[in-house]
Subunit: 317 residues, 2 copies
């Protein structure tokens, strides 16, 4: 039985194995994903993002417990900020959410970029796909909200929660202004800290200044203390309210179209590059170009132009 077939039967070990293959960029993982694809689209994906130190992991832990109480199976994809550097997740699966470790309805996976050509967002969406196929009702993707990779990851989610925390200084204020655009729900965590009310008020004011189209979703600012579980039930309800809106308002069609297009383009880009590099290595072109560039005999733009028009001569440009 293929890995994909085992995953569709709910085999958690097979899912873990497939995710490892995805992480390692093994070509056969693609064949398994192809088999899984028609069986996906059932999980509801929640994105959790925000600056380092906002308490996102604890919040995700509490949300997981809350959805479990409702009988939902929960998958968690945690993107650790260390990943790009170390090729491994320091706040790894092992030390995450110990209390769910014996619960078969919870599947947790920390993600690293490692060699993956498509980068973090491709890996994250592939892993979410496997969790979907495995039968998870909810998939939570947790990431640190800075950088294009992270924005791309959050785009995979149906509902995005942006987690803020009082008193992190000026840079954070700037980030805050930026992420208004991607949040469906805003959370001020560590709400017992000084300045929590001010942070919540500032966020609300900024959200009010946003011009939402008539009939569009109106993001709320929620307060939580994830450490002791305060505000979690309210947050869960708000997430479900956004889901109901999302599924009934027609937003879902645009969302799925954009997502399909993004996946297609990202896979196309990586595949073309892989094929091209194979060709260029084989016939010695890559080595020749590198030597010419070292000697400043050619610039990379001209080199690429020449090569690309040979490779795709039918192009109209």
């Amino acid at each position: 039985m293929s890995l994909a077939e085992q995953v569709l039967e709910g085999n958690i070990r097979a899912a873990a194995r497939l995710m490892r293959d995805i992480d390692d960029g093994r070509p056969q993982a693609v064949d398994e994903l192809k088999c899984l694809y028609p069986h996906t689209g059932n999980a509801y994906i929640i994105g959790i993002t925000g600056p380092p130190g906002a308490g996102k992991s604890t919040l995700v832990d509490q949300l997981t417990a809350s959805f479990r109480k409702q009988g939902k199976k929960v998958g968690v994809v945690a993107i650790d900020p260390t990943s790009p550097f170390t090729g491994g997740a320091i706040l790894g699966d092992r030390i995450r959410m110990n209390r769910h470790s014996c619960d078969e309805g919870v599947f947790i996976r920390s993600l690293a970029t490692r060699g993956a050509l498509g980068g973090l967002s491709r890996s994250a969406s592939d892993v979410a796909l496997v969790m979907d196929a495995l039968g998870m009702d909810i998939v939570i993707i947790e990431t640190v909200g800075v950088g294009q990779d992270e924005v791309d990851i959050v785009k995979e989610a149906h509902t995005t929660c942006v987690v803020m925390v009082p008193g992190l200084g000026d840079d954070i204020q700037a980030i805050k202004a930026g992420i208004l655009e991607i949040g469906d729900i805003f959370v001020v965590n560590k709400a017992d800290r000084d300045g929590a009310d001010r942070t919540a008020r500032e966020l609300s004011t900024m959200l009010e200044m946003r011009h939402g189209a008539a009939g569009s979703w109106n993001p709320q600012v929620m307060k939580t203390e994830a450490q002791r579980g305060a505000g979690i039930d309210e947050l869960t309800s708000e997430i479900l309210a956004h889901r109901d809106f999302f599924l009934s308002s027609g937003t879902i069609d645009d969302f799925l179209h954009e997502r399909n297009q993004r996946h297609f383009i990202s896979i196309l880009r990586d595949t073309l590059l892989r094929k091209a590099l194979l060709l260029l290595t084989k016939d010695g072109t890559l080595e020749r170009v590198m030597t010419e560039m070292s000697g400043h005999h050619i610039d990379p733009y001209s080199a690429v132009e020449e090569i690309a028009s040979k490779m795709m001569p039918d192009s109209a440009d």
Copy 2:
């Protein structure tokens, strides 16, 4: 006279104009970059990275002043964390480093990703190239040290300084462990704060545990209070010490080879994708595939496989 020629004559307005064209992803910018390329490689590139709130902007401001005192021309490329979200830099050029605004030897540029296909790291390296061609002796690239984009940016630098700050919580500890690998110099900024000595000690201990090859650079931990200028001269000296090591140890050859290869591959990837999308849009393939994906009749992996083997039939895979 072309923009490139004007830049080579030291025309700052022409440089600003070209950088805007790069940011906007205009095709003609590539032609200008081709002309500039043979005239670059003279600037020394310093990367400054670290978590939000570490005081990087202030530190960069002080370093700029310090290099100016030595008569060096300084370019600054500031990557603002807001950029991916807003398409513009909130902590923009205007409010940055006002005190250098009348100094012709300082050129500051904030960067946004906007539409740039190649992403932030390509834009940053292109802008640094323009500053190099403009005759800047030092180019400082400042970025927030989380995410693959930021790591790629830092790879452009000859010397990378990682800026930490005392007491930012657990997530930061994890980041810290990861960025050990990319730092040539470590800076504990806001060194007057509680816990500064401990943070510096922890960093030193972690660095000692790293197995550096014989004859390799030995990163130091420096303490600064950028706000009042303390420790800046020491930091500048350490950067110059690393530069001397870098230029004399043969590291520079590997560095340049890797950089050339990275630039070539990144440009190749974007060019191939652009050409392919043009073709697929023109002959209606893209629309057909999107419709088939919506109906779950095809998965993106199979769709790409079919298209790519038609486009590059000579490939060996």
